[in-house]
Symmetry: none
Subunit: 175 residues, 2 copies
C-alpha cells in the first residue's frame, strides 16, 4: 500500500485547512515523486544509506519539494522497519490457501506488492556509482545489506485451530 494508494500528497479532504505546498508543515510531506524515487531506491536494494548517500538523495529530491536529510534517513528507517513488521504480523497468518474455504475462513491472501523477499541481491547499479563526490575522505560503507539474519520468532504458533466454543475468558487464557 505504500505507493499504490497512499501517494496522495495533496490532502483532498482538507478538513482542517491543510497546506499542500509544504509551507506550514511541521512535518515533512513527501511528494509523489519523492516517494517514487525513494521507493525505487529501496526496491533496488538500498536499505540503510550512509550519511553521504542520504545527503545526495536529499539534495536530489529537494528538486521536487522541501526535504531534509533527516527525512530521507527516517524514511528508510521506517520503510525497512515496517516491511519487516508487516511480514511478522501479516505474512504469518497466511497458512492456508484460499481453496474452497466456504465460510469462517480467516485465511487471506495477501498480495505482497513488492518483493520483500529476503534475497538481498544488491543491485548492481548501486555499486556502480562513484562513491565519493563530496570530497569526504572516507571509505564509503557500501552497506549492501549484510544484515537481516534475525530469525522470526513469530512462527511457532498454530493459527489454524479453531475453537469449538467462544472463549469465554480469553483475555487471560491465551496470553
Amino acid at each position: 500500500m505504500e505507493e499504490g494508494m497512499s501517494g496522495f500528497c495533496v490532502r483532498g479532504g482538507s478538513i482542517g485547512g491543510n497546506n499542500s505546498t509544504g509551507t506550514k508543515c511541521g512535518r515533512w510531506n513527501p511528494t509523489t515523486e519523492q516517494v517514487k524515487v525513494l521507493t525505487e531506491l529501496f526496491s533496488s536494494g538500498l536499505r540503510t544509506p550512509s550519511t553521504d548517500q542520504i545527503q545526495k538523495i536529499s539534495n536530489q529530491l529537494s528538486f521536487y519539494g522541501k526535504i531534509e536529510s533527516k527525512n530521507v534517513f527516517y524514511w528508510f528507517q521506517n520503510h525497512k522497519a515496517r516491511e519487516r513488521q508487516k511480514r511478522r504480523k501479516v505474512g504469518k497468518d497466511v497458512i492456508r490457501r484460499e481453496n474452497s474455504i466456504p465460510k469462517n475462513s480467516f485465511t487471506q491472501n495477501y498480495t505482497q506488492l513488492y518483493d520483500v523477499s529476503e534475497p538481498e541481491r544488491v543491485i548492481e547499479t548501486l555499486q556502480l556509482f562513484p562513491l565519493n563526490s563530496l570530497g569526504e575522505s572516507e571509505s564509503k560503507n557500501m552497506r549492501v545489506h549484510a544484515s537481516e539474519c534475525r530469525e522470526n520468532t513469530m512462527f511457532s504458533y498454530t493459527v489454524g485451530e479453531q475453537m469449538d466454543q467462544p472463549p469465554l475468558d480469553l483475555r487471560l487464557s491465551f496470553m
Copy 2:
C-alpha cells in the same frame, strides 16, 4: 493494490456467529465481540501488546470473524492514542475553568472511559501465561512523555536547497 484487500469483512452488527459472505471492503470491521474482548484487555491494563501477544489475540479473535494481526496492533495503537488525546484536551480545558462548564458530555456513548490515568499496571493474570514478556508488577514505566515540540537536535546538517535540474535518473547518477 493494497495488501489489506483480503477477501471479505462483515459488518459487526451481526452478533455471534462468523461471517460468511460479506461485502468486499478493504477495511477491517470488528465484530462486537471482538471489540468487547479488546476493550476488556485494554481496561485490564494492556496497552501495547507485544508481537506475540498480538498474534495470540488475533488468533483468538478470529473465532468471531475475520481479523488480522495488524488489526489488533492498530486497534491498541489507536485506542491508546485517542484515550490520551481525549484526556489531554480535557485536561487542558480543566486548567482554564474547572467551574462546571456544561460541556457536551455526549462524546462517549459506549466507549469506556476508564481512568487509567496513573498506572498501567498489568493484571497479574497476564503474567501467568508462560511465554510472557511482561514483567511488570508495580510501578510501571511512568511514561510521562511531554508531548511538546521536541526540538530536533540531530541531523543538523540540513542541506538547504540546491535544485539544479530535474534529476531524471537520479537513481544512479547522484550516488
